[in-house]
């Protein structure tokens, strides 16, 4: 125990007192979200896979040396070897090329569907949110009815109707069918956020805070809104890809040879029956990987945005 001297009992100065204050660095929102996402190893795996698959989808068909439609009758149903990395199908087409070409379509469809859902959802939800209660109520009822129509059922029906006999469905129809009912959750989400914003602004006004504060709060509310929307978009993609794959599997997908992964899997089914398992494995595996990656990334995003899980 040190000796206590009289001078220790003199007043401490301002600086000495302020030095004690430990200041935690103020953390900006989005960089922090990214940091937390990085900590989630599974989500990072997903993200990496997505990037890899996208790259392969772009360059795969280019590096293989074959096209997706060339038919080579002397090389029918060849198992994977050094020439045909994924083997060939019943018409002698290189499956490596076809698989990655299919991946292009699957990814494209997923992203397009998500983008359209996003747009319709924001518009519909935004309008509902700022409208009068009556209009909002009616809009929500309509949305409810639309949503209760089974998504895949509609997709299948529309594909049936709009596909020409025998051949597949056009890209346009597929996307249309998929987005017709799927935008509702996004709309509901956006509407909820808009309503919150409305409330916040109202209470802001009544608290007579300066315009400065209002702007700052908007800086917090908008990021708050974008978060769940971003998560929703990320999780819409695998849903759309799954729907499209199901279509393909039922023979309603894109027209061959521009097949998507689902169609390829369907073709491969016949192959599997006669022992040519490889014909179905690659597309099936790829579909699963894509869905896995987006799901896991979406999960990670959701966790990273959740303020309660801040470390």
């Amino acid at each position: 125990m040190t000796e206590l001297t009289k001078e220790m009992f003199e007043r401490a100065s301002e600086e000495q007192r302020n030095a004690e204050k430990i200041r935690r660095p103020s953390i900006k929102y989005w960089p922090d979200v990214w940091r937390r996402l990085k900590q989630n190893k599974l989500a990072m795996v997903g993200l990496t896979l997505i990037i890899l698959i996208t790259i392969m989808a772009i360059i795969g068909p280019m590096i293989s040396g074959y096209t997706y439609y060339e038919q080579d009758y002397s090389n029918i149903n060849v198992k994977p070897n050094s020439e045909f990395w994924f083997g060939t199908d019943e018409l002698g087409r290189d499956l490596f090329t076809r698989t990655w070409y299919g991946a292009r379509y699957s990814l494209l469809i997923g992203i397009l569907a998500a983008a359209i859902d996003f747009t319709i959802g924001i518009l519909y939800g935004g309008i509902a949110g700022v409208s009068s209660r009556r209009v909002d109520s009616i809009m929500m009822r309509i949305a409810e009815v639309i949503y209760s129509i089974p998504y895949l059922l509609v997709v299948i029906l529309m594909s049936v109707v709009f596909s020409s006999q025998g051949s597949g469905t056009s890209l346009f129809v597929i996307i249309l069918a998929m987005t017709i009912t799927d935008w509702v959750p996004m709309a509901i989400l956006v509407r909820g956020q808009v309503l919150q914003l409305k409330e916040a602004e109202y209470s802001l006004a009544s608290e007579s805070l300066g315009a400065d504060q209002g702007w700052i709060l908007r800086k917090h509310i908008i990021p708050n809104t974008l978060g769940p929307i971003l998560v929703n978009v990320t999780l819409t993609i695998p849903r759309a890809i799954f729907a499209e794959a199901t279509l393909g599997f039922l023979g309603l997908g894109l027209q061959a040879p521009k097949s998507s992964l689902g169609t390829l899997a369907n073709d491969g089914l016949a192959g599997m029956a006669v022992g040519l398992t490889y014909q179905i494995i690659f597309p099936a595996l790829l579909i699963s990987l894509i869905m896995f990656s987006f799901n896991v990334l979406g999960d990670g995003l959701r966790d990273a945005l959740d303020p309660r899980l801040r470390k």
Binding site: L42, R141, E144, V145, S148, I149, P150, Y151, L152, L153, V154, I156, L157, M158, V160, V161, Q165, P238, F242, A245, T246, F249, L250, G251, L252, A265, L269, M272, T277, I280, A284, I287, S288, L289, M291, F292, N295, V296
Partner: protein, 309 residues
Amino acid sequence: MKKYLLKRFVMSIITLWAIVTITFFLMHAIPGNPFAKEGKMPPVVYENLQKKYGLDKPLYQQYLIYLGNLIRGDFGDSMKSRVETVNDMIERGFPVSARLGAQALVFALVFGPALGAMAALYQNKIPDYISMIVAIIGISVPSFVMGTFLIQFVAKNIGFFPIGGWGEFKHTILPSFALGLMPLATMARLMRSSMLEVLNQDYIKTAKSKGLTKFAVIMKHAVRNAILPVVSVLGITISNLLVGSFVIEKIFGIPGLGMFFVKSIGNRDYTLIMGTTVFYALILILMLLLVDITYMLVDPRIRLTEEGH
């Protein structure tokens, strides 16, 4: 409570009507005629066929006739099959599909929430990791992929499991598993996050402070509340299960309604397509209504408020 039920019932009818109408007009929007595939036929025969299926009448009349028939439970005659009506086919296929669907659902309901609850209770420990790996696989691997995988690697290698077909219980095991895995995974994940949230609630602390055993706290307080979100997605789950069954029936060669549906798509047998669609919609909406009622029974807060939210 009654007001809520009434509202849900009315919504259901409206939705059902919407589906029927959409289906009807979609079917009739298809260019060309449904008999084209039959090959060339004498005009008289063609006219008679038109008359038989009422295709010579104006569209809105056809629509009303169809609606009328539906209300009476008549789904019409199949355009392709000379022998059976759509009703017959539904009668044949439905019990099979129902069994498949029910088994898959029970499988998912029993194991899904249980897996999720366990994951939450042992958060970040081994049971959590295992459950979540199972769940991730379940939601990422589409049912048809799982189905083919099972056939290829399980059925072909283990003699006990038949590769396809229907008839005995063992025929139902692999298909039910393939069909039920995705809902199982979804429910497991949902249950896990729900439990984690509930376990942080104040009333769990209250329950502990009363001196209750851990088991009592978990079962009577945590699970009881955590299961609510799972029940609320039951509707969508069943909806997905329904469509998933098409695919599974195709892969395993199961003679259910789904198979008829898929075949009718290939054949362009419009009455059959419409019939099965409407029937499916009917079943689905019935299930959704049941789920709503269940949710109401389970969450006392809903029972007494007028709004459904």
